[in-house]
Amino acid sequence: MVTKLEKIAGPKHRFLLNMGPQHPSTHGVLRIVLEMDGEYAMAIDPVLGYGHRMHEKMAEGRPYNGFYPNTGRMDYLGAILFSHGYVGLLERMSGAEVPERAEFIRVITAELNRISSHLVGIGAYVLDLGAFTPILYAFDDREMILDMLEAITGSRLTYCYFRVGGVTKDIDDTFIRRARAFIDRMRSRLPMYKDLVTDNLIFLKRTKGIGIIDRDMAARYGITGPVLRGSGISYDVRKSEPYSVYDRFDFDIPVGENGDSFDRYVVRMEEIAQSLRIIEQALDALPDGPVMVKPKKKLKLAAGGCNYTVEAARGSLSYYLVGDGSDTPYRLKIRVPSYSNLSPLPELCKGMLLSDLVTAMGSLDLVIPEIDR
């Protein structure tokens, strides 16, 4: 049947649709311009920069320690992981010593942060698909992590906890007890998530086979993190080039098979279990001693470049700093995972139904302020 619209505009009528920047499923301020053919998105053009705050430039104008609060503002869901990369970089460049206990505390808090980030990612993803309940369960679990970290770091989201030479505050017995209680609780909750979400037929139907990123495509776009592992490539910075004390822990890298939205979700779920394993081992092997070695002088780095890569919640995060001998960096380049995870979107979603596009984009678990930074 020829519709009225087709009579006026012809059979190949296409229209532009603005998704975002204030669309709930774009998780922040991502704007996507879609060229729609009916309900099918034929061309996708992400427009970035709505949350641009010039973090890299800000780093150039202040002493090295003045950039600590900025690291947490880029990826606000995985703030500790972002701080970890920055202090790791400064320590590698300056050769500052870090007490062993501090390294263990860093691993424990970073993995807790990774779990809380994945819980938000999963909860928000299922919310995108139209199921409201699971995010409340995820936030219930996340609340325990936030309370724990609040008692140690003093903040609930944008932590500023790591310093060159250690961490600001030691963990106490209360924290260790709560962390162990959390591990037990989370392990008992994981089967519940399986019942509630993973096995749900509607969820399976909406995610399986949607937004398939094969190995070749993943490598071409430089995708990292759970998205890459969902495509079946077993790459994790914690294993491939272990930083901090990650080489001492026994954990697996979960990988998916098909690289579809469902696999990416499952990889995140399994990563929570692996993070719990790391935390448990770190708590068991926690050494005594100081948590901070204060640098004697104001930090000044020699001229030259240095790179430090960590595994953030969304993938590999690199800081590349060029020093010029002064107390401020000459240039700080930050390679964030979400940016390269977003880049396959136009190819991935070409010819997709609008509702599937939301599925595919949600499974990438993007944090837009991290892309814009």
């Binding site: 320690n65 003045g66 600590y68 609060p69 140690i152 944008t158 500023c160 505050k169 749900n200």
Partner: protein
């Protein structure tokens, strides 16, 4: 066709299992707190805005106007002024203002303070209508705190 019916059965089963989970949550204890009416105690570690510490021994603040907090602050949100007075060793604090609209709560000022004159307050319920409400005169606050 048989696939259709088997899917119908497994699908309905999965939905019932999911409903079972939500039903369990329905009869489990309530975790929601009705916030403005009831509150959870915050831990003493909470990093609110900074405040001058009141020294129990002298009954006043410990600031010696070294300006180290002002210099270390990445957001330039602290303003400290002092003056020389006759018969008093060192400088006397005349102004300690915090522009909380700019503060990012990194805690570098608290770490840099040698006499431990500043600390985080536990205030987290901050809301206002104008920016001026968030420029705190910390010297006035410490005097009022009797």
């Amino acid at each position: 066709m048989s696939g259709y019916f088997s899917e119908l059965i497994t699908g309905s089963k999965s939905l019932l299992v999911g409903l079972g989970v939500t039903f369990k949550a329905l009869i489990s204890p309530v975790v929601t707190v009705q916030y403005p009416r009831e509150k959870i105690d915050v831990t003493s570690a909470v990093r609110g805005h900074i405040d001058l510490v009141k020294d129990e021994a002298t009954g006043t603040h410990r600031c010696m106007v070294c300006l180290s907090c002002m210099k270390v602050c990445p957001c330039q949100c602290i303003t400290v002024q002092g003056e020389k007075r006759e018969g008093v060793k060192g400088k006397v604090l005349t102004l300690f203002a915090l522009d909380f609209t700019k503060c990012s709560l990194c805690g570098l000022c608290v770490e840099s303070c040698k006499p431990k004159a500043i600390d985080f307050s536990n205030e987290y319920e901050l809301a206002g209508f104008t920016r001026d409400e968030f420029v705190f005169d910390l010297l006035k606050r410490v005097k009022e705190r009797a």
